[in-house]
């Protein structure tokens, strides 16, 4: 397979500029600088590269919306907030090949006419800020960054901004707000960042992995890149694999690779004696696939979409047959309730409410119609929020319940007895609620869910 992103990530001392340069670092930037910015944009458009931050928007197209004007500085913001549960690919790249990321930043900045770029790193990646700061210093000292990058006359400064613990700072307008020193409340669009972003200036936000593809595209050419992968999914994808799997880790996968094959080969299959029950293919914000559904899926945008889910961030989480879906879903729902920024009504109230109903259900205090209530709550949120977090929060709730409904139904109280009270057996009124012990029992008994596929 073609390695685009992980060619040097196993190289010891790759963080050192001279080592990285021996491996070809900054040749892509040099190639870019020898062309006009429009030519670079066209090249990237032709490569078919799509954003790896989750939405999959064509990168070259996004850049083409930028119209630099003398009085309006352009900004490039590299999104390294990486907080989608199950995602740690950017972590991997930043730590193991910081110069690759920096080179990607430089190429993108040049293409959009930015002379200032920020790397927005989630607060938890403070240790990586050291690595990146070192890389920036080395590049500056070597004349790669600065007033005249590689002697071209093009100037670029790159700064690092560390976040302070909030998932919403990964959403592009939340990131901009955070960087401006505001509460990271996403902005209603229009205007889009391309016309009014950071400090109301034209701004592009790109994911770390997206940018890391650029050096290769610059040196090898758009055609070669477009030839890797399938259809509208060009190139490779970093998959961060975690959960109940033998060899969790970050793997570079050519687009179009069968999912189960990947799980079995790179991932080493399920832990001994276990079978795959389900898999979340692209971070918790995308619908879960039952093992059956996963069987036909390949790792690319189209196949994921056809299966009713998304490639997302490439954060793949495996569930084996010991996994219990209701507590897993509660955990995920709590994540969104915790991370909803609280700006818009449906998400602020909906995320908290879904988590609360799930918690009540798991505490044995569910209501007969709770599952429908949860589904309906999601319908009321989806498509009606300011940013994608609202939609994201709905996906796990609806897909878990729809695909593993019996496990959730087992937690519900029995339907009210339709017979009149005087005909009922037993003593005293029947409790409409289920006590916690019953829930324990329900959870420990094997529950009939969708059949699990063997790997």
């Amino acid at each position: 397979m073609t390695r685009i992103l992980t060619r040097h990530t196993d190289q010891p001392d790759q963080v050192q500029l001279d080592v990285a340069r021996r491996g070809g670092a900054y040749q892509g930037f040099e190639a870019a600088l020898s062309r006009s910015r429009q030519e670079v944009i066209q090249e990237v458009e032709a490569s078919g590269l799509r954003g790896r931050g989750g939405a999959g928007f064509p990168t070259g197209r996004k850049w083409s919306f930028i119209h630099p004007a003398p009085d309006r500085p352009v900004y490039l913001l590299c999104n390294a907030d990486e907080s989608e549960p199950g995602t740690f690919k950017d972590h991997y790249l930043l730590k193991r090949d910081p110069h690759l990321v920096l080179e990607g930043i430089a190429i993108a900045a040049y293409a959009i006419g930015a002379h200032k770029a920020y790397l927005y790193l989630r607060g938890e990646y403070a240790s990586l800020a050291m690595v990146m700061a070192g890389a920036i210093e080395q590049a500056k000292a070597a004349g790669i960054l600065g007033d005249s990058c590689l002697g071209s006359g093009y100037g670029l400064r790159v700064s690092i901004q560390l976040g302070a613990g909030a998932y919403i700072c990964g959403e592009e307008t939340g990131l901009i707000q955070s960087l401006e020193g505001r509460r990271a409340y996403p902005r209603v669009r229009p205007p889009f960042p391309a016309s009014a972003g950071f400090l109301d200036q034209p701004t592009v936000v790109n994911n770390v992995e997206t940018l890391a593809n650029l050096p290769w595209i610059m040196t090898e050419g758009a055609d070669r890149y477009a030839g890797v992968g399938t259809g509208r999914s060009a190139g490779t994808k970093l998959v961060s694999l975690s959960g109940q799997v033998s060899r969790p880790g970050v793997y570079e996968v050519t687009m179009g690779r069968p999912l189960l094959q990947f799980l079995n080969e790179e991932g080493g299959g399920m832990p001994p004696g276990r079978q795959l029950k389900a898999v979340i293919p692209g971070g918790t914000s995308v619908p879960i696939l039952s093992a059956d559904e996963a069987a036909g899926v390949t790792i690319d945008y189209e196949s994921m979409q056809a299966a009713g889910t998304m490639l997302g961030s490439g954060g793949m989480i495996a569930f084996d047959d010991t996994a219990q879906m209701p507590p897993a879903l509660l955990r995920i729902a709590e994540f969104y309730a915790h991370e909803s920024c609280g700006e818009c009504t449906p998400c602020r109230e909906g995320t908290g409410w879904m988590a609360w109903v799930l918690k009540r259900l798991l505490a044995g205090e569910g209501r007969v119609n709770d599952l429908d209530l949860l589904l309906r709550t999601g319908d009321n949120m989806e498509g009606r929020t300011i940013c994608g977090l609202g939609d994201a929060a709905v996906q796990p709730v609806q897909s878990f319940i729809r695909k593993f409904r019996p496990e959730f139904e087992a937690l519900l109280p029995p339907a009210p007895d339709p017979s009149p009270p005087w005909q009922r057996h037993g003593h005293g009124p029947r409790s409409a609620r289920m006590g916690p012990p019953a829930v324990e029992a329900a959870l420990s008994e094997p529950v009939e869910g969708p059949p699990t596929a063997s790997l």
Binding site: R183, V188, G342, T345, P346, R348, E349, G352, R367, R384
Partner: protein, 550 residues
């Protein structure tokens, strides 16, 4: 110009206008919490979701610009939209306390109104919440405003007002998700001189006014549109009153004058206008109260002489807080009955600063609502000022004095002019003062005649921009006090045998006819902005030695 269709009605709007603006102009009511015409749109409440033909998702009307040919359906006509709005309402109620019976906002609460709405209201809700997120209640943020953060719907209107309009940024949200809560840092009292607006713009009962709380349920109030007489800005407002008492003043939107805001002093100006120290009966210097016919007779005696002209040389001073109509009759009285007169309105140094701002928003140093009106009426033909008149009086060159006086409704109770006026009255043995209040510094008047205060008479003021605005009558003057125009008409009749009309529209028609700046204005269509604005904003010089600015 883009043409848009909302619920089947078409309208052309300027490029960049949003759907909600188009709908508002068409009279299609789109529910909203966070949208406010004078605040930056944030699109957070999601109440204004509408359907646009060809769009996959609903969009927010408040932040989506209209494009040509757009076809929009509001919750009144689209079931999908109505359902979405119901969904939003349901979400809002999850953590909203069940306070309505004890909430001050009842009757003016958007949440309550929307909840009951026949098209998208919530008639059945599946949400039965046992545990609501608890927040803090009844936090007093200074003398004006009380915060109940449990009732807050997080629309951020107040946050945006505080940060972008008044600029002090005293309110902010803390935390995230459904734990978001509105706070003032350490519950500090708000320093904002415009804080009162917060209670008006809060769509629910989260920020309420301490002045008005629990006084009267809003549905008992009558409303009268008017303008503020607190300073030369002339903010548009609404007088809410009941049983001949003003209960509160709330801003009325006028983008050309005050947007949607008024200052706190202006908001409370009615308290001073209606204060306990009102003069309610004609009063002689000895303290004797007399009936009106006697009062007018006394005035005649005080100002008449036996010489050929029949009247004494007169110093005539009128406060620039009088309406244009009162000033017109005042001028007629002085010019027609007193061949020897000096006419002036320049009672205080503040008048120099007619256009000068006190702050970045609305307040101006000039606390007279009608300085420009007096100026246009030619009240300061000769150079001079109160100090000159005082000097003359000190020098024994004393003349008769007529004073039409309104104390300032905002700012210091004792205006800078008080001492000079007191001294002048002391020196003039023949003084007739028309005043709203019984003021210690007017004690020296030979005769005091009670006149109606602001909101007790109808008329016009010309604000610092030269905008002529209508000031309405909401309540009756106290006791025997009468409108200044009526008293002046009596005096005119006494001295000239001619009784002018006191109908404001008749007086205004004369103004329109005689004052060049008002040509073409129509009393029925005020406020109107004059074509030529004089002076340009800033300091004002008039007369050679006149009033140079500070």
């Amino acid at each position: 110009m883009p043409l848009v269709t909302v619920d089947g009605q078409q309208i052309e709007v300027e490029p960049g206008a949003t759907i909600i603006q188009a709908a508002d102009r068409l009279g299609v009511e789109i529910p909203r919490f966070c949208y406010h015409p004078d605040l930056r749109p944030e699109g957070n409440c999601r109440m204004c979701l509408v359907q646009v033909e060809g769009f996959a998702r609903l969009v927010v009307a408040c932040a989506t610009p209209v494009t040509d040919g757009m076809v929009v359906s509001s919750p009144h006509t689209s079931a999908e939209t109505a359902e979405a709005v119901q969904g939003v309402l349901e979400f809002l109620l999850i953590n909203h306390p069940l306070d309505c019976p004890i909430c001050d906002q009842a009757g003016e609460c958007s949440l309550q109104d929307f909840y009951m709405h026949p098209d998208y209201g919530l008639h059945t809700s599946q949400v039965d919440v046992v545990e609501k997120v608890r927040k803090r209640k009844r936090i007093e943020l200074g003398p004006r405003i009380v915060l109940d953060s449990e009732r807050c719907v997080m629309c951020s209107r107040c946050v945006r007002f505080s940060a972008d309009i008044s600029g002090l940024a005293e309110l902010q949200f803390i935390h995230r998700g459904n734990r978001v809560e509105l706070i003032a840092f350490e519950d500090r009292a708000l320093e904002d001189p415009y804080a009162g607006n917060l209670a008006d713009l809060c769509p629910v009962g989260a920020l309420t006014s301490r002045d008005f709380r629990f006084r009267r349920r809003v549905w008992h109030l009558a409303h009268t549109d008017s303008v503020c007489a607190g300073c030369s800005t002339g903010c548009n407002l609404r007088i809410d009153h009941a049983e001949n008492r003003i209960e509160r003043l709330v801003p009325r939107r006028n983008p050309a004058v005050n947007s949607s805001w008024i200052c706190d002093e202006g908001r409370l100006s009615y308290l001073r206008a209606n204060g306990p120290d009102r003069l309610s009966q004609p009063l002689l210097s000895g303290g004797e109260e007399v009936a009106w016919p006697d009062g007018i007779r006394h005035a005649q005696e005080l100002l008449a002489t036996d010489d050929a002209s029949g009247t004494r040389p007169l110093l005539a001073l009128a406060s620039a807080s009088a309406t244009n109509e009162s000033l017109l009759l005042f001028k007629h009285l002085v010019t027609r009955a007193f061949p020897h007169h000096r006419l002036d309105f320049r009672l205080s140094q503040e008048t120099d600063l007619v256009g000068a701002r006190q702050d970045h928003l609305l307040r101006r140093w000039d606390k007279h609502p009608n300085t420009m009106g007096a100026f246009y009426l030619g009240f300061s033909e000769q150079p001079g000022g109160l100090d000159d008149y005082l000097q003359a009086a000190e020098a024994g060159d004393c003349v008769a004095l007529v004073l039409l006086y309104y104390p300032p409704l905002v700012g210091d109770e004792l205006p800078p002019v008080a001492a000079a006026l007191a001294r002048l009255l002391e020196l003039c043995p023949h003084s007739v003062v028309l005043t709203t209040h019984r003021l210690p510094y007017l004690k020296g008047a030979s005769l005091s005649l009670p006149v109606a205060a602001w909101a007790e008479e109808e008329g016009t003021y010309t604000n610092y921009q030269g905008t002529v605005q209508h000031s309405a009558k909401a309540t009756e003057p106290p006791g025997a006090a009468r409108e200044a125009t009526a008293v002046l008409a009596d005096l005119l009749h006494t001295f000239t045998n001619h009784r002018p009309s006191t109908a404001p529209e008749v007086l205004f028609a004369e103004l329109e006819h005689t004052v060049a700046a008002y040509r073409g204005l129509d009393y029925q269509h005020l406020p109107s902005r004059l074509a030529s604005v004089y002076p340009p904003e800033g300091r004002m010089h008039y007369g050679e030695e006149g009033f140079s600015g500070r």
